[in-house]
């Protein structure tokens, strides 16, 4: 599509990048059809093509973001279904990243909005703060419906609704010795929210990998991948998270070597695989970040390289929910299902599998209405499979979907750990 930027504008690398992305878009409209917000709201402004056009208009005119544009950009889930659909290879992810940063830099949000975003950015990326906040939320839970009646407070209400009533406690770490010959050495991202909400996922990962002969490195100091703030357009904060992790892993690589950095939350995986791009303009980090991105692997991606033995059927049917960050962000579609089948589970694909469940990081808090509609649609499709269990590879989806159905939902790796000799996941007993 034709663009209209001055040479001066294009001197800014972010604008130049955006321009190159915009030039690829032929305005064919294919992407609208698979966009969850367009499908839900039926307005081109809430579609990828509409957002691309809004961004183009804003950037070409070098204009500060305004309420109208921000409304539609905020509604984007960053699910990247549009990227999977686009035949022209439009890199929507980096376009919306740039646009969000532009919004953050040029637009002053209304007070309540600012407040809630500050709270989220202050709390979520830090496990200790998050744990404390959840305790408070449990006390506040009964007030949720009350807050929901007052528009600016809806996000708080959503937060209270989503907060789980009980939190599983981490099990004491058991460093088992390797039972078989060593096949590799990996680090597992601990992350931020996941260890608080569901420590069982990484416990299962460690057990399984250890049993398979993979040594687990535990480098000190890594933390939130930065995705949460990145999607809020808080670029500097995101880059700082990224730099910290790059440092930690780089040290580990240089000291003892790493074959992979394993990620068990696909949302984080998408971001870590993008570190190379995010830090490309920082000369002291660009090279290191690229190396980290190349080593980042989703747990299923990594397991698929280990040739796990096929197992007898277990008589259980699993509805596999592919997280957006998994299927669209990282284009991992076949491995998780193949692993489950190989481990003796019957696997079903829910209808409309390309549509987001509405979790999308902090989306279910910031856009509770759209998120709730998407959740209901997702749950309906999943329940229609009449499966026994839901499996997925992202903690956000697990929390979101669990809040809408009685079907048990577990991480793919928990099922695999169970199948290959680990304990039965709590949620299934």
């Amino acid at each position: 599509m034709q663009t209209n930027f001055t040479a001066e504008q294009l001197a800014d690398p972010h604008v130049a990048e955006s321009e190159a992305i915009l030039r690829r878009c032929v305005h064919c409209g294919f992407c609208t059809a698979t966009c969850p917000t367009y499908v839900t709201l039926g307005n081109e402004l809430d579609s990828p093509r509409g957002r691309i056009y809004l961004i183009k208009d804003m950037l070409e005119n070098g204009r500060a973001a305004d309420a109208q544009v921000v409304k539609h950009l905020d509604r984007c889930l960053s699910c990247l279904a549009c990227t999977t659909t686009c035949p022209s290879g439009v890199d929507y992810m980096h376009l919306i990243d740039n646009a969000r940063a532009h919004v953050e830099n040029t637009y002053r949000r209304p007070l309540m909005d600012r407040l809630i975003r500050n709270v989220l950015a202050f709390v979520l990326p830090y496990p200790s703060r998050f744990r404390a906040a959840l305790k408070l939320a449990r006390i506040g839970k009964p007030f949720g419906p009350m807050l929901a009646g007052f528009a600016p407070l809806k996000p708080f209400a959503a937060m209270l609704t989503l907060a789980p009533v009980t939190l599983p406690q981490p099990l004491p770490q058991q460093s088992q010795p390797l039972a078989v010959a060593k096949r590799g050495r990996v680090a597992i991202l601990t992350g931020c929210a996941q260890p608080v909400l569901d420590p069982r996922i990484n416990e299962a990962t460690e057990r399984l990998l250890t049993r398979l002969g993979v040594e687990i490195a535990r480098p000190k100091g890594e933390g939130c991948c930065g995705a949460l703030v990145h999607h809020m357009g808080r670029e500097e904060q995101a880059l700082n998270f990224a730099r910290r992790n790059v440092d930690v892993w780089t040290r580990e690589i240089e000291e003892r070597g790493l074959d992979a950095i394993i990620i068990t939350a696909s949302g984080c995986g998408t971001t870590i695989k993008d570190y190379g791009h995010m830090l490309r303009l920082d000369p002291s980090y660009a090279e290191k970040a690229r190396r980290i991105s190349a080593l980042a692997k989703d747990i299923t991606e990594y397991l698929a390289t280990l040739d796990l033995p096929p197992l007898e059927s277990r008589g259980l049917t699993v509805a596999y929910h592919s997280a957006c960050s998994m299927q669209h962000g990282q284009k991992i579609t076949l491995q998780p299902k193949a692993l489950l089948r190989n481990a003796g589970f019957a696997v079903r694909d829910p209808a409309e599998g390309h549509l987001c469940c509405g979790s999308a990081g902090t989306y279910n808090i910031l856009q509770p209405e759209i998120s709730a509609q998407l959740k209901a649609r997702k749950v309906k499709n999943i329940e229609a499979t009449k499966a026994n269990i839901i499996a997925t590879g992202n903690i956000g989806c697990m929390t979101q979907i669990a809040s809408g159905t009685a079907m048990p939902i577990v991480h793919t790796v928990e099922l695999l750990d169970w199948a290959y000799g680990g304990p039965k996941p709590d949620k299934l007993s």
């Binding site: 599509m1 034709q2 305005h27 039926g42 809004l54 109208q68 022209s88």
Partner: protein
């Protein structure tokens, strides 16, 4: 932005009343159905014919027929032009608005109302996407046959307006052959039903007239379409040729032999490369032209038809013949084909021509097309529905270079004239819109066009419905804002 093609000058009276009109529309519709902030109107200024753009006065996104009727009645009363919009995938600028027009978008009317398997019909709202019908009835063993490459996104309303076709229309016909009925709103707000679950109708074939009328006769809000039982099996087969001419001649011979496969699609070398890069469908890269031929039916039928086709292809020196071995592979082959236009965006901007020619002229027109485009110093990729002679030369250019853009438009016009002169027509399925409007007199005489214009006036005497489209602005009646 190109400016070779002009729009009707906006009606000053309408522009002057803009704020009143918006306030009135706000009274007629729920808040989520009206878009009027200048910033928010920008994404509606064009469709997939992106070289041209005009901001609309406002956009309404009604939820139901009654709301469409209310808006049309209002616009009729105050002489406000309207432009219907489905998914905005038109390649001829059919959904591009104008400054004094209210865009009526059907995107919120996207429900499938009824599926009736015993009668093999589906009744849907106009904003339902083409593919979602087949997706809905697929598990029961049915499909909706017309399959424009844009079927993932384009709406039934848009398909009806353009009488859209697709790869599989060679056997099953285009939209008009698969449409049983519509509910539509006339410009004055009257709601009428044409056709239904039964075949044919009393009186004139207004349904046939409405199909392909490019939003000039009314706004379709619901449609009843014919469903077909899926064939037992279907298999796309790739035939690679050493020249486009041989491939074109092979198509003519296959049809001439009385063999009608479900689809015969053509790609030349540039198109093969573009599609393969996106879809990784395994198209042969060492040939000059590729035919995707799909046969269907029982194993025996497919074998029988294939062997006859292979025999003909051999006579034309076919270089590679490859049958798809699995459903996944077949899906990839079609994905590549259906993404062809979009995938072209990876290497250049393009405009897509859509003339149809008699099969016997296919080879000649292909050759002339290359000569024309090369004459302008541009490149062309051909990917099209060969079985029915519906060509789609994609003229590649750089949209940020105004000189190239103008050359591309000029080359396009010459190609379309070539198609008409070869005994064909300007457009086989994409419609006239604004793109081919000023070429209409190359295909029709003034009197022929005037007759069409008069029939149009029977529906919309004030020329409020999509008024800048289809008919050249010169020589229109006074009411149509003649220039």
């Amino acid at each position: 932005m190109s400016d070779v093609i002009s729009f009707l000058p906006p009606r000053e009276k309408v522009l002057a009343r803009r704020s009143t009109i918006i306030a009135d529309l706000a009274d007629l519709l729920p808040a989520d159905c009206l878009v009027h902030e200048p910033r928010e109107l920008v994404p509606f200024e064009t469709d997939a014919f992106v070289a041209y753009r005009r901001l609309p006065l406002a956009v309404v996104l009604p939820h139901n027929t009654a709301q469409v009727a209310a808006v049309l009645k209002y616009c009729h009363r105050y002489g406000v032009p309207v432009v219907p919009r489905g998914a905005g995938t038109s390649l001829c600028g059919g959904a591009i608005p104008q400054e004094d027009a209210v865009v009526i978008g059907l995107s919120k009317m996207s429900r499938i109302l009824e599926v009736d398997f015993a009668n093999r019909t589906a009744t849907v709202q106009a904003g339902v996407t083409n593919l979602s019908i087949s997706d809905t009835v697929g598990p029961e063993g049915y499909f909706y046959a017309p399959d424009p490459s844009s079927q993932l996104a384009c709406t039934i309303g848009g398909n009806i307006a353009m009488n859209s076709g697709g790869a599989h229309c060679l056997k099953y016909g285009v939209t008009t052959n698969n449409l049983l009925g519509v509910k539509m709103v006339l410009m004055d707000g009257t709601v009428i039903d044409l056709g239904g679950k039964h075949l044919d109708s009393a009186g004139y074939d207004l349904l046939g007239l409405v199909c392909g009328s490019e939003g000039q006769l009314g706004i379709v809000t619901e449609a009843t379409v014919r469903l077909i039982a899926k064939p037992e099996g279907a298999r796309p087969v790739l035939f690679g040729f050493t020249s486009s001419e041989e491939a074109g001649a092979c198509v003519a011979d296959v049809i001439g032999a009385g063999i009608i496969p479900v689809a015969i699609e053509f790609m030349d070398k540039p198109a093969i490369e573009i599609c393969e890069a996106f879809a990784k469908a395994g198209y042969p890269l060492d040939v000059e032209a590729l035919l995707i031929v799909e046969v269907e039916g029982s194993e025996a039928e497919m074998e029988a038809m294939l062997s006859s086709i292979v025999e003909i292809a051999r006579r034309h020196g076919v270089k590679t013949v490859r049958e798809s071995q699995s459903a996944t592979e077949a899906a990839l082959i079609w994905k590549g084909r259906k993404s062809a236009f979009g995938a072209t965006g990876r290497i250049a901007d393009y405009i897509c021509m859509d003339g149809t020619v008699p099969l016997s002229k296919l080879s000649y027109v292909l050759k002339r097309t290359s000569e024309i485009v090369e004459g302008f110093g541009l490149r062309v990729a051909n990917v099209f529905h060969a079985g029915d002679g519906n060509m789609h030369p994609l003229i590649l250019f750089n949209a940020n270079d105004p000189v190239e853009a103008a050359k591309a438009e000029a080359a396009g016009n010459e190609i379309l004239k070539l198609c008409v002169d070869a005994g064909g027509c300007l457009t086989g399925e994409h419609g006239v819109g604004i793109e081919k409007r000023d070429l209409m007199l190359h295909q029709y005489t003034r009197a022929e066009l005037d007759q069409q214009i008069r029939v149009r006036e029977a529906f919309d005497s004030q020329w409020l419905l999509n008024p800048s489209k289809v008919f050249p602005l010169d020589g229109r009646p006074q009411t149509a804002g003649a220039v």
